[in-house]
Amino acid sequence: MPSRRLFLRSAGGLVLAAGGTWLEAQVHAAVPDPPGLASLPSGAVASGDLEAIPGKVPLIKRSWRPPNYETPLAYFAEEFTPNRAFFVRYHLASIPEIRADQWTLRVGGDAASTPFELNLEQLKHDFPAFELAAVNQCSGNRRGLFEPHVAGVEWGVGAMGNARWTGARLKDVLAKAGLRKDALEIAVDGADGPVMPATPDFQKSIPVWKALDDNTLIAYLMNGEPLPHWNGFPARLVVAGWTGTYWMKHVTSINAISKPFDNFWVKTAYRIPINRFPIVEHFASQMTDANEPITEMVVNSLITNVTPGQAVAVGRAFEVKGVAWDGGRGIASVDVSTDSGRSWRSAMLGADYGRFSFRSFSHMFTPIEQGTLVVMARASNRAGATQTMELIHNPAGYHHNVVQRIAVNAV
């Protein structure tokens, strides 16, 4: 738990950073719109510089405070996103830097009979470690590409990343706390918090069945390294398949509760209209007649190597590459079209790192005559869901999985 002293030291460190690396590492450059989708708001383009914060390569700055930084497209050419390029997303601007030897995690709640505390060493050594490849994607990834635009962090396509996460299973930690049968949800808090006392602290809950899933971890390694500060050091929740809002960073407390968690970030924020998206897993204890909490990610893909307007040679093979992912059913196929969607061919899928991971795809095609070609990729998952051609609008700007249309010139 961060003490006042700890917080002040970290804030001091950031002050020093302001005079040094933070400023010097900036690279100011126009960031192009994501290819083949609608345009970002012009104000978001104007303020979306490439900037480096401590420990990160230059990322696309969406906001300084709280820090929201997006991964540039080039890093999605590989299945696993480097830690230094992994996107950063915070709701609230008070973010202590936690020292590993001072961190403790409290596990309890009214539906736990033997509450306890543990430190990082105990988390690592008292529970079996599991590794899992999983996509962490912000619920609002691609919000900036909504037409009409909706207010919020105006993300392009890079509020996501894929990593190998290592940690203890949440179910093992809950078992030690004596999880009772009346447990309904597991509520989680992290060390980051609001600037104003009246602002609702960012906390989340998940259904107890999701907490007991083998693929829900308290992770302390990311791609084999300690988590970067900006990605939740020293430990964060990994809720494989579900959007990033549940992946609580800098976790400080985990409570098993017997009633629906009453918190703005669960009850009001991060909601989607009922029955509008083809999802399998629902958060039943938080549903209303009108809306429900966002849960699993919808199936999606991203073409990573085609630039709008680029020249491709007639008679020469050209490769369309990218990554595809979904909420844990697993990618069944990716189809590629090079004629505006009139015909589709199955792309080759790359190595399978598990159903929660990015799955790479590749398709070769050879233009046979000069002119404009529109390149598209459409992923489908093993539950039969596929990407949409038209945006499914919703007030908060979630679940954008519209197929890209990238026009290239065959010459």
Partner: protein
């Protein structure tokens, strides 16, 4: 985690230090209400949120955003300042 109230003033002051250099680069458009925007909105978040969310919100959109900051996030802004802020945002960063 909710920091103790006692730490908040200090925390805000120090946090302001590290972001100030960044945030000074962003000059919001001059006009009536800019001072209120800088005084109130920047207490909790950098003002690039304004630029990023432009220009697509109309007056009712900006009114909704400011109202959410007050009612949901507890921003201590009186009615007079809130109106000045909405007027400024709509005039300078509103839907064109």
């Amino acid at each position: 985690m909710r920091p103790l109230l006692l730490t908040l003033t200090l925390a805000v002051a120090l946090t302001a230090g590290y972001v100030l250099a960044q945030e000074r680069r962003l000059g919001l458009k001059d006009g009536p209400g800019r001072a209120q925007v800088e005084a109130h909105c920047a207490s909790c978040h950098s003002l690039d949120y304004v630029l990023m969310n432009s220009p697509f919100l109309d007056r009712s959109g900006w009114d909704g955003s400011v109202s959410k900051m007050i009612k949901v996030f507890g921003a201590p802004i009186n009615a007079e300042d809130a109106k000045a802020i909405v007027d400024y945002l709509n005039a300078n960063y509103g839907k064109s």
